[in-house]
Amino acid sequence: MSAVAQLRVERAGPLASLQDAGRFGVRRLGLTQGGPVDIHAWAWANRLLGNAWGAAALEITFGGLSLIAEATTSLALAGADLGATLDDVALDPWSSFTVEAGQRLKFASPSSGLRAYLAAPGGFIAEPVLGSVASVSREDLGGHDGQGGKLRSGDVLSFTGGLRNADTLPVESRPDYSQPASLALVPGAQIADFEGASLFAAFHRAWRVDERSDRMGVRLKGPTLRCRTGNMISEGIGLGAVQVPPDGQPIALLNDRQTIGGYPRLGALTPLACARLAQCPPGHEVRLQAQALTPAQAAYRSFLRYFRDL
């Protein structure tokens, strides 16, 4: 289908990128998976428009973005409250809405959470690179320009457009990003090699999100964790893996992580815990909660069933 609707970038914020479900089947070549770091909010943004799973949405980090609608169309927002306005009228951060041609959609700064997802009817259109439009700047792949480039003023985001019934997520179903985050971690890997006191600290002490955090991973500051295993032979790393380098401060690895690594790991955050962590700004308090594999799998399966089996 040809694109009939467009959003023109009036001002590019610090970071906004197109993300579909991710780039799969090429990790053996050293390519990262990409995709939305908050799969929960991304899925909701698409769902509010009735889009199929996997439609590309715009991941907006911090805000600072201003877009002009070139046609009348529905759009939807989900995730962080970045103070979004439509011609200076505040928008509900978890709902679909209609923009008229010429209206300005603007994102200010985060009041809760870190990343908002903007979905368009049918998804934003871009040329898939290695099977995906997921934008990975480190690999110069995907996104609106196919090169993983930063969104710039004057750029145009295209989609088929159309009007959808207004939809919104009930307030009681929305995550409260301002609260400390409790993150489910499925223990595994080298967890048995950590010292007892370190294991106790890992799951009972509060952690703070470090400034050195991005789409590759989120560093946590807190007690120093000691592991009897030193550097290991590098091996494949799954989404959410919590690795502990020699400085004893854990790093939760997200969508743009390197494909292999050799630091000992406590296990892996569940995909929904990764999503929650992606909304935590630097300094935010998080806690790790051990969860058994079976209930963690069940929770992820019901999430996928809800959003993917429309």
Binding site: V26, G30, I233
Partner: protein, 243 residues
């Protein structure tokens, strides 16, 4: 469990996420591992079919990422366990393709050629010959798209990584670190010792298969002179020091 493969607690399945298993086959790096790794990957593709999302092979293991909605998690685990029970290695000699990388060994593009001579006690020529002499096996790809970790280097050339990594290693740089060697597909930071440069495009999104090198491939370095390197379109710009 597979008798031919059995050693200690290996092979084993480790939880790597709600939809991911790490199949650990070996405890140490060995050229012979790769015939098992490539066999395991092929069997996973057969057994999981469309429910397989991704595979990440590495020195001693394969990470298996499957679709937990299309395949029940207990069924995924059962399939891996049964696959391991009758896994047989590929024919070692037939594993991977043989690839040649033409390299211009020179101090201007490989400043650590000097350090390698001091470390090994070998002459410049002997260092280059030692690097070219054997066929290396690709153990893993990672760090950046198409970056192949190859080994094992002769003991004499085993030089630790730089204490302070460079912020900018030029594309095509051929490098060594400990018992491994690699070539940088693109400009990136890096802490390996640079000894030369290849003009090959190691990663190209327009190429069938994208990456020149794949896990299991056998690689031989071939020394060429500057004129030959330039003739192949190689970039002769020297490595910027303190970069």
């Amino acid at each position: 469990m597979n008798e031919a493969l059995r050693a200690g607690d290996l092979p084993c399945l480790e939880v790597a996420g709600v939809d991911t298993w790490l199949v650990r086959l070996f405890a140490t790096i060995d050229d012979a591992n790769m015939a098992w790794i490539t066999a395991l990957m092929r069997r996973c593709e057969q057994v999981f079919g469309d429910t397989l999302i991704d595979l990440v092979p590495s020195y001693t293991s394969v990470l298996v990422h499957y679709d937990p909605l299309a395949l029940r998690p207990d069924e995924a685990r059962a399939r891996l366990a049964s696959l391991l029970a009758d896994l047989a290695p590929d024919d070692t000699a037939a594993v991977g393709e043989v690839k040649e990388l033409h390299v211009w060994y020179d101090e201007s593009v490989g400043p650590e050629l000097i350090r390698l001579q001091e470390h090994s006690g070998l002459s410049r020529q002997a260092v280059i010959e030692a690097h070219c002499e054997r066929e290396y096996r690709v153990f893993a790809l990672g760090f950046s798209p198409g970056f192949a970790f190859m080994g094992s280097l002769p003991e004499a050339l085993a030089l630790p990584r730089l204490e302070t990594p460079r912020k900018r290693v030029p594309a095509g740089s051929v490098a060594v670190a400990n018992r491994q060697t690699a070539a940088y597909p693109r400009v990136s930071p890096g802490g390996w010792n640079l000894i030369g440069r290849t003009g090959e495009r190691l990663f190209d999104r327009r190429r069938e298969g994208f990456s020149l090198l794949r896990v299991g491939d056998r690689v031989r370095f071939v020394a060429i002179d500057r004129a030959h390197f330039e003739g192949l379109g190689g970039d002769i710009a020297p490595v910027e020091e303190r970069s």
